[in-house]
Symmetry: C2
Subunit: 492 residues, 2 copies
């Protein structure tokens, strides 16, 4: 029933032959029109092009670029290129302080799309008119390349763009090819099924093929990714992990769907990383523990090292510098269990559904009725894109929102009467987990949800005020009673 | 490449043999525990059980039922049974005035889930502990039945429930079996792909099979569905249809994905029905026009009669009385082109994505930034469930929200500064269409979207006030500037 599990064995080297159009970064950057729509590789702050964006930032041309990445990219794009004023329009995920500030000043027009679908939207859906794809690779030939530490929507981007620039990064190990499984879904509107019947199966190739007519230039680099850094797990993180662990233990008992295997996904960030790291302490019995997610963060490496994961599927090895060292030292070992896929496979709504994933994602804040804001502080100020959180929150079999009950040293409650930006609706989330407890809101009405979220998940220092709000609005003869003006003044 | 298109030819009759446990409705109702969780058939206000709910409503027992349907059911459940006070808890879609009032009074606990996933949530996801399924059929045997005018999540419900009651409706033609294609996705967490490669393909059977141990009773009836009624298309409906038609014509030119075929879906209601009806006036050239949606409403019958649809896939023939007459008089003819599927196939996120659907759904109101409220007036008062609208709004290749710019004879704008209940987020909708015009917001930032939606879609009588709001908040240094208190006072 299950298909190929072993990594691809076709080997490539990256000695660049004389037929490839080698360019220096400045010459490559000059091939990009001043108002081009540029599609870049990069996801989870790794595997993005570095020298060409820096050369664009250094250019004295007056640039007004549209830059489309499918996930987070590093400082070369979202700091240097943004600071140079070259970016007019930016999709989709971003989270650097500099890009965020430019977006909040509205110097950059930001359209925030879901990670699963931005490839289709670029290629077929009319989101942009793509000009050129700029991608990082560990090796390149006349009609193929091997991606580096992430895949993202690179296959869709390369197909959609008229032209292609490749940065071959000699710092990224050639062996990374063993991780990749490049599979292109067919073109709509009559596609066949994606033939993946097991989260660890391989259905594609380690190489990404392209039309050789598109290749404008190849640039060589050995610049490292500007990776994520995660804080050490804090007390709240560990308490959230413990509450989550209790819930998962009960859930595995409850449903036959998790009798033989449990398929997990964790969202990006320090909390997600900490939760991955705490998996080791959980009892899974004889079950296959599978990671079917978007990002693999450092926290998962221990589980892989201990042979406790049957397999892990993602679109990015979103590791810290230390995590990359561990990966690069033992790529073959990780490739036994890890498959890096395009984001339209890793995050595909139908596959998340197919594999009955338990999805765990965080948020900025949640409201008492179960609406979730994961992108805009106060509903106004963008902190980061929505990324793939909605892909998993919408399509997972059990959807968990895990977050600390407060931020700013307990000064601000993350449980609020009303959230003024909604990324995930009341129809999406099954369970809320904070360091205070677990609110399993499945099957509850909005007011029942509110009671449970306030009592189980809010911080005790905010519970009385949340109870007051709920008690006062409860007198209304409405399904979802609220007082918008008062909610806007919260916590007054 | 494409599979079986012709309807099933296995014939059944509904002479009920002596081995079936025939019961009258009262005796059947008595088999349902007072606090049971009852899963019912019914979608689009057709194909739901009738006599057993009426018998429950007439019972003098003190009932506190949880009633789960996957789509809209008729007055026997959402009027009579609600008025009897027998329902404590109700999922998912509902829209009757009586059930709505009880829900807004919070006499009924309503948890509103997406139509695509409520089957999985009931069977595997811990939403309820299902006791008994009560379904309408046109024929029944010892281990099978044939559904009637809708399928919905009946296959999941019958598998999930411990017991089964079947109402055989002699008024619904036996020939309806030719429409059905009952296919059960495998159980998570390691399911295979749903093997549907063409929207009109048949991959299942006309019969729904069940464990004969579950069958508690069979009740005979000839009671008709309490069907939808649609108003005649109004001027606004026709103007919306014309604007939508212009957009579709441009979109078919723009993208190669629609070169050979265009796959459409329309939401429930009078507007959706009118838009289906206006399809006849559109030029599709040589393209296959395919309906891949949730409901087939009367408006689509003309397209079918004129042989202008290559095929139509849905989970319900949500017709009026007149539409049912047309269907019942020519079931074989419609069965050539129509396939009725379970809702976890018709609305499957992966299949909507696979088939590159252009989805057209309506709403109560939209805000200037592109958030959509389709369920709660003022963010508080429930009007109807979310149904399958989020399934299509999230997963369609091109997502269109079509609505009149005002309601209450132009007194109230449906374009508002901020909507206080969000069913579809700013990440979901590509295009807004009103009788005023079209706002194609793909690739636009929130403030750019606001400008376009106000200028193209808002009613001229509200545009100045919306411009004032936007101009005033624009001074904020925020990605999505707003003034919640003022938005709450809108249109003051």
């Amino acid at each position: 029933m299950t298909g190929r599990r072993e990594p691809a064995t076709d080997t490539v080297d990256r000695r660049l032959n004389g037929n490839l159009p080698l360019l220096d970064a400045g010459a490559a950057a000059a091939r990009i029109d001043a108002d081009a729509t540029v599609l870049t590789s990069g996801f989870g702050s790794v595997g993005y092009p570095k020298l060409i964006p820096l050369a664009l930032a250094d250019s004295d041309r007056d640039l007004s670029l549209t830059v489309v990445s499918s996930g987070n990219v590093g400082d070369e794009i979202d700091v240097a290129l943004v600071e140079s004023g070259a970016i007019d329009r930016r999709f989709t995920y971003q989270s650097s302080a500099v890009a965020r500030a430019a977006t909040n000043r509205r110097d950059i027009a930001f359209s925030d799309r879901n990670a699963s679908s931005i490839g289709d939207e670029v290629q077929y859906g009319g989101l942009v008119e793509p000009d050129i794809a700029v991608v990082e690779a560990v090796a390149v030939g006349e009609d193929w390349f091997v991606p580096s530490t992430s895949v993202g929507q690179v296959p869709a981007f390369v197909e959609a763009a008229d032209e292609l620039l490749v940065e071959v990064n000699h710092r990224q190990p050639l062996k990374l090819q063993a991780l990749h499984d490049i599979y292109r879904p067919e073109a709509p509107p009559n596609r066949g099924p994606i033939p993946l019947t097991d989260p660890g199966e391989r259905i594609g190739t380690s190489r990404m093929h392209f039309d050789p007519e598109k290749l404008v230039g190849v640039v060589e680099t050995d610049r490292v990714d500007s990776t994520y850094s995660f804080r050490e797990p804090a007390d709240d993180d560990l308490a959230i992990a413990a509450n989550l662990g209790d819930f998962l233990a009960e859930e595995m008992e409850r449903t036959a769907a998790f009798e033989d295997a449990v398929h997990l996904q964790f969202g990006v960030g320090s909390l997600g990383n900490a939760l991955m790291g705490e998996l080791e302490g959980l009892e899974f019995g004889d079950r296959d523990v599978v990671y079917y997610g978007e990002l693999i963060q450092d926290g998962l490496l221990d589980m892989l090292d201990a042979d406790r994961l049957a397999c892990a599927s993602a679109t990015s090895m979103a590791l810290t510098d230390e995590g990359q060292e561990r990966l690069f030292a033992s790529v073959e070992r990780y490739a036994r269990d890890v498959v890096l896929r395009p984001a339209d496979v890793s995050n595909h709504p139908g596959l998340i559904d197919r594999f009955g994933v338990i999805g765990v994602n965080s948020a900025i804040e949640v409201d008492i009725y179960g609406n979730v804001n994961s992108t805009h502080v106060g509903g106004k100020r963008m902190i980061n894109g929505v990324g793939g959180s909605a892909d998993f929150n919408r399509n997972a079999l059990v959807t968990i929102c895990a977050l600390p009950s407060t931020h700013d040293d307990g000064e601000i409650s993350r449980v609020v009467p009303m959230t003024f930006h909604v990324d995930h609706t009341e129809h999406d989330i099954d369970v809320f987990v904070t360091e205070q407890g677990v609110a399993d809101v499945r099957g509850l009405s909005p007011v029942e949800r509110a009671e449970l979220i306030v009592e189980e998940c809010a911080h005790p220092s905010f519970r009385p005020r949340l109870r007051d709000y709920l008690d006062d609005v409860r007198s209304q003869d409405d399904h979802i009673p609220h007082d918008v003006a008062r909610a806007a003044d919260w916590p007054e």
